[in-house]
Structure formats: structure tokens, C-alpha cells
Amino acid sequence: MKTLLSALAVAAASACLSLGAIGCSQSTDDTATNGGSALSASLLPQVLDPVPGATAGDYYQTKQTLRLFGTQPAADGGGYATFADKSTWVTRNIAVGDWISRNYQLASITKDGVTLRQLGEPTSFAVGKDLTINAIFHRFDTAAVYQGQNVWKVSGTNFADIQTTYGTGATGQDRSGVGPTAAIGTVSTVVLTSVDPNGVLAHAGLHTSSVLMALNGTQLHAADLDKLATALTKSGTTVSLTISEHGAVHTVTYNID
């Protein structure tokens, strides 16, 4: 399967309407800003992949219009489908069995379309068409929203809670040697050797084999990954992460609310 994009990047941010077991101290106004609404407690037992300790107040529901760009069925019945959120056009490749939102799961795919399962009710969705769903998300799902051109908007509070619940969620290995480009010369980098999709770094868009070079201009080491995760929880700050990808060095900017 193609690399999954880590950002859900729906046009909704965190919505903490009540203090949950894992804590939530911000942004009751986020719900109004982003058009979401609180989740009925009666739906809580039905959410897919529930976050440990989460309450109904940690979830929100919002209208989301998806465009099914296409499908890539596999011979074994698996494969993936490519969905775009029409409000941002950010795409995700969703594998059969994975969820689109906390109440929609990709049940099956063909070359012509997909079937989504919502709380047990299947919904057909053809390639090239739009479908508006009442999507349920946990506030962690949109703790970081990609805004394009290597800039992310981050909820520091939600990242702090992710760190508390799941941790940094990555291990890395120091590497030193020839740089990603000849002109850069010898450099030291951290290669992520494992990334927990629930952890802070996965939510920040990093994945296994990501190559990290510097945090706010200071060289990173594998032992610094917790420091990076903590930096991403500091509301009111900006974090610059220098990475190497596909033969190029980039600076990714996280603006932390």
C-alpha cells in the first residue's frame, strides 16, 4: 500500500466540550469555528478504534464532503482507495478495513468504487463522485492539520494529551555519513526505525524511515525524540524541523496554538 498520509486534515480542529479522563483544557470555541458539534454520549460505544479513557466530549461530529479520486484493488481482496477532503483537497489512501472517520470504515473496493460501512450500514460510493458524511472524529485525529507548503497547524494541548496517552511513539537511530546531497557533505541524522501511528510524531506527519536532521536549527540525535515531541506541545510557539526526504532537505514548520 502506498504511504499513508498522517494528517487527517479535515476542516475541523479539536473540540473539547467537557473535561475527559485524559484532560482537555482548551477550545470549546473550536467547535463553533470549525462547524463541528459534540458527540452524543449514546454514540460513544459505537466509535471505531476508541481512544483509551476518552469520553463523548473528546469526540466531535462534522459534515465532511469527500471526493473518491480512485481505487487500487488488490487481487487478494485488499487494496486501497484514495479519498480527498474537498475543503482542503488533502488526500488519504485508505486500506480495506481501515477507518475514514471514527464512524466510517472502508468495507470493500472495486475498480469502480467502494463500500463504506457506517455503524454497520453499508454506503456505496463511486469513483469520481462526492459524498457528504456526518463524520465523527476524536480531537487527537486533527491535533495537527497540514496547511500546505510544509506548514502544520498544531494544537499544543491535544499534542500534550497524545503524549500523555501514547507517548512520543517513535524510535530512531543515529546515522552519520555522507549527506543526502553531495553539496551538503557529511552530516549526522536520525532515521526513525519505528513509528506508532497513535504517538506524537506520527500525528506530526513523520513515519518510519523519516530522516530528521535538526530541531529549531540544532542537530538532533535519536535520544532527542522525546524533546521533539515535547516541543510540539508548547502552545504559542513555532517549531522548525529540518528533515531529509527524497534527496532533499526541507524545513517543516509547526505553528502551535
Partner: protein, 313 residues
Amino acid sequence: MRLKKLGCTLVVATVASVTVSIVASAGTYPTRLANAGDSISQGWDADDVPHSQVKYSWVQGTSSVIDSIYSRYKALAPKITQDPESVFGAEMVGGGDNFAAQASRICANKTPPQHVTVLFGANDVCNAAQSDGPDPTVNMYAPATFTGAFDAGMEELESCLPTGATIEVISMPRVDQVYVAGMAKSSWCPEIWSIATVCTLVTSEPDPARRALIGAAVDTYNQALADDVAAWNSNSNGKNTAGLKVVTDWKGSIANGFTDTSLGSHLFNASEINTVDCFHPNEAGQAELACNGWVNDPDGSGVESACFTQEGN
């Protein structure tokens, strides 16, 4: 067939520029340009210095060495402005900087352009996961997914561009041919490809027959895109109510005898790629892309001059 050296590519580009300026002088030119694209349009590593080198970009560049689309229009309409939206690593389909996302940013600007240039696709291919199975392209997007994403971007532009605006869609390069060029360039190239994981779908594929399958998949993308462009231009898809003029450089594949008639059918050579990542066009390559973009632009010459050369082989 490889051609003999034809001389400096920059000279070729300059000659093309002079020719088209004469032809285009009778037209009414846009006052604002925009582009959507990836690292190629960012002039990535073009001057052998890592990073975006936009002044050497074929489309938005300001260097006289390149004679970009922007420069050529500026020579005709000095007050012209531009809105470059291309992003390193952008795909037609995936991510947050895809064509549709960039198109929405173009539309978000107060002054919509009358001319948009589009070049995507290489990252859609290069980012696909490798497969050990018989088909190395199995993890690539289906062509319908690729054109579906193109349609989404076009819908965005159609919603904001003025009536009669032009969208020029450039075909994507045959990355398997870039591999050939890199192998011819230096023994350093396969080393840096491995270290920096540059387009591993092809650079880590030792079997030429399997690389050719990847190249054929690129042809399929380019043909599907050209068919879609034709549908938009003729409004046979019923979506072009703004009367947009939609054109492409693609005329056909290498296999069908259209070698070097478009970016997608160009046989890259060692002298056209940079020495940093051995994959992106250098200044000479960018100048050729600018020439190709211009001769296929409705405001350009329309003459298929020798934009692409085979020097250096």
C-alpha cells in the same frame, strides 16, 4: 535513435524564444500567470546547489539562462505578474499540496490569472511503493485516479479563472529515462540515489525490463491526461462552462514514434540533469523545458522546434 550534438541547449532555447516572440506579437497577452507543479517547477537543484532555485525554473524563473515562460511573457507584456504555487514533492493525486490544493490557492488570490501552467506526475510515480511481484507498477495509482485528481484541480480553476483563460498541461517525464541519464552521468549517481532514496521505484530496480514497465505506465498516465485535457478543451465532459482553453504538450509516446516531442517523450541525457541528486533537470534541462512549454503555449510559436536535444551522450 540518439542524435549527434546539436550545440548548446541554451542557444536552442534562445532561438525558439525569438521565433515565438514574432508570432505572438499580434496577440493579447495575459497580465497574470500562475503555475501548479512540483520540484521541477521549483528549479530544484538546477544550478547544482541543493534546494529550490526558482530563478532557474522553466516556468517561473527570472534567469536569462533559462528564458522561462514567465520571462517570455514579460518580454511581451512587461507589467505581467505571476503567482507560483508549485511545491517540492507535490503529487497530482496525493498529499496536501496536490494539484487541486494548489489550484484552490490560485483561486484564493484576489487577482485570478489568465494563464496557468500545470506539471505534475513524477512524484505520483516515484512515491509508489516497490513491489517484488511480477508487476513493478502494481502500487501506482490507477490512471483513473490520476485523471480524477486532475479533474478536481481543473474544477477548482474552472470556478475562478476568467472566460477564455488558458491552462497548459505539461506531460510528466519518463523517470526510467532519467535513470538512464543518471547512470550515464556518473558513478556517483546510483550512490546518491541509494543514500538519499531518490525515486526508488526506478533507481532501486535493477531489471531494465521492469523499469520499462514503469516507463510504459508513465506513458499511460500521459495519454490518459492528454485525453482528459482534450475533453476539457472541447467541453465534451460538460465541465468547461468558462470556456477555458486547455492544451498539452503530449503528442504521443516514444514507443509510438514521438520521441522528444514533449517532456513525456523526452529521452533525457546526462547533460540535462544536475550533479546533486542526478535526477532533476539542471539549467540546460530547465531551458529545454521552458522551450517546450512555450512552443506548446497558444501564445507561443506553435512550432515544434528542437527544444530537446541529445547532446552529451
